[in-house]
């Protein structure tokens, strides 16, 4: 069985919010991803029973600080890189209907 199918690639592209719809593109990424996933399958050779997963290289737990109020960034400044905005608000396309 293929490690990843074209339908799975379409599904993953949709989850990742990437417009990959043309059949040729789907085929291209299916092949590319399959190569990497097949390569990754060699991890199955490793016995990991009883091994804890590592999420972070240097363990740190509950980093806390004093809750001191500080000034945030200026709104006008924050709008500087927004592609479209109006009256101090970020503009998005219609989300209904």
């Amino acid at each position: 069985m293929a490690v990843i199918t074209k339908d799975q690639v379409k599904h993953v592209a949709n989850l990742a919010r990437l417009a990959i719809t043309e059949e040729k593109e789907v085929e291209y990424y299916t092949e590319k991803l399959a190569t990497i996933i097949e390569f990754a399958e060699q991890l199955n050779e490793v016995d990991t029973s009883g091994v804890e997963p590592t999420t972070h290289p240097v363990p740190l737990v509950n980093v806390l600080r004093e809750d001191e109020p500080a000034k945030g960034l200026d709104r006008d400044l924050m709008l500087k890189n927004v592609p479209e905005h109006e009256d101090g608000m970020v503009k998005v396309p219609s989300i209904l209907g």
């Binding site: 993953v12 592209a13 996933i37 990754a40 490793v46 999420t55 396309p93």
Partner: protein, 489 residues
């Protein structure tokens, strides 16, 4: 007199004696860039006006208030945000992005009196090992312009090797500082995870990314790392530990130091030139009184696949922020929100970035999470344990930085797994979070090779001491690429 062939210490002395000014050093950087960057293509953006004004100010700082890097020019990798200076991550997605704040590392450069002259090229979002994945330009290796400079911090390494600036910052997620440093014959340090704040470093894989210095000599590197290190309230994964004056560790004395050579680092997949250069390096280190012994890091082979699953998974989450709404590229003529996201991301991201986002999304998706993501996290534990075991007996572990010297531009662009395999000796270090440096250790057909020195968590000092002793006992760092010759003045 060739200005950037001087060390930071020598340049500071020249500044002190008023034989040169910060303004002149900054002019020199722009003159060099003007002269060679048409060939090297390391820089993406320049900040000439502000840099020159700042240099003039810095020349007025009283001598007793100056640090070791005062008044010296620096280049910054384009994934480190710099206020008022375009930061693109070499992606179409961030074309024209004008940061409104400085990354902590960039701010610390300012605090140390360094002068940021511009931003340097990289693989898009730091994903790649040749800088060929930049949306904007392909940087060339200063030793041979037909070859890649390595990556992802290829612009950082090439700019230093070509003598455009004396130092740069890079970032390293799986080898992105050390591998280009090796390919370009310069010194590159990936510090311990948590040593340098990641605030303002555009995130690729948050549990692996670290900012670090690229310089021509080990001593310069130590100065620069001291300047950018330290706990930062804006990055809770930065460690609240003392920042040593790393340069004070450069005693030249490594007598009795225990150095492990990993048999896997001289084994399958590692080219003869790299192997031989490291074998010669072992002789040098032994002649300096170090005790070298062979060790095994048995999970080395599995670090590469584990890394691609983990780093891509983290990237798929981190790069979700690029939505065309708040900053960056936005697709045009789209009527509804979901299509806007999808079209923006399809047009804004390059091929490799899309591949990795999808790989990560796949590894994290329902039904595959345990088999891929969690499995890789467990293998990460074993890779980390390999180092823990090694450091019970040895002070540092050494090996080649990369399996081969640089390859030709375009040579591996369609050979994904070989491209990935160039990081097989650097990736384990990121998975374990330990510090490692690459220092020049030889040449193969005129292209540089790097020796990698790996240390315990937060023991960059010993790493620097070994790298420095090796550097001082050899001449590799004194060889310059021809393109630097125009430096005479």
């Amino acid at each position: 007199m060739t200005l950037f062939n001087h060390s930071a210490k020598e340049l500071q002395q020249l500044l002190h004696n008023k034989e040169v000014s910060a303004v002149e050093l900054t002019d020199e950087a722009f003159r060099r860039i003007d002269k060679v960057d048409g060939d090297v293509k390391a820089f993406l953006a320049l900040d000439e006006e502000r840099a020159k004004a700042r240099a003039a100010e810095l020349d007025n700082t009283p001598v007793d208030q100056r640090g070791p890097l005062h008044g010296l020019p620096v280049g910054v990798k384009d994934n480190i945000v710099t206020e008022g200076l375009e930061t693109t991550c070499a992606s179409r997605m961030l074309g024209g992005f004008d940061p409104i704040y400085n990354a902590t590392a960039a701010k610390k450069l300012d605090d140390a009196g360094l002068i940021t002259v511009g931003k340097v090229n990289m693989d898009e979002f730091a994903m790649g090992g040749s800088t060929e994945n930049s949306y904007y330009k392909k940087t060339a290796n200063p030793w041979n312009l037909e070859y890649v400079p390595g990556g992802s911090s290829g612009g950082s390494a090439a700019a230093v090797a070509a003598g455009e600036v004396p130092f740069t910052l890079g970032s390293d997620t799986g080898g992105s500082i050390r591998q280009p440093a090796a390919y370009c014959g310069v010194v590159g340090m990936k510090p311990t995870y948590g040593r340098v704040s990641r605030y303002g470093l555009v995130a690729f894989a948050s549990s692996l990314d670290q900012i670090g210095p690229i310089t021509r000599t080990v001593e310069d590197n130590a100065f620069l790392l001291s300047a950018i290190s330290g706990h930062d309230p804006y990055d809770s994964t930065s460690f609240d530990v003392e920042v040593p004056d790393f340069a004070s560790a450069l005693t030249g004395d490594i007598k009795g130091l225990k150095i492990g050579i990993a048999s896997e680092y001289l084994g399958e997949g590692v080219g003869e030139a790299s192997r031989n250069a490291v074998k010669d390096a072992i002789k040098v280190l032994e002649s300096l009184g170090a005790e070298v012994g062979e060790i095994s890091l048995p999970h080395t082979k599995y670090a590469l696949p584990a890394y691609y699953l983990l780093s891509s998974s983290e990237a798929s989450s981190n790069l979700a922020r690029f939505d065309g709404i708040r900053y960056g590229y936005r697709a045009e003529g789209i009527e509804n929100l979901e299509d806007l996201y999808k079209q923006t991301r399809a047009e804004g991201f390059g091929d490799e970035v899309k591949t990795r986002i999808m790989l990560g999304t796949f590894a994290l998706s329902s039904g595959f999470y345990d088999a891929y993501y969690k499995k890789a996290q467990k293998v990460r534990t074993l890779v980390r344990d390999d180092f823990t075991n090694a450091f019970e007996k040895y002070d540092v572990v050494i090996g080649p930085t990369a399996p081969t010297p640089a390859f030709k531009i375009g040579e591996l662009i369609d050979d994904q797994l070989t491209m990935y395999a160039n990081d097989i000796l650097t990736i384990p270090v990121n998975l374990a979070g330990v510090p490692a440096i690459s220092v020049p250790c030889g040449f193969d057909n005129g292209l540089p090779l790097g020796l990698q020195v790996i240390g315990r968590h937060f023991d960059e000092s010993t790493v620097y001491r070994v790298a420095h002793a090796f550097e001082q006992a050899t001449d590799f760092h004194k060889r310059m690429p021809e393109i630097r010759e125009g430096l005479e003045r």
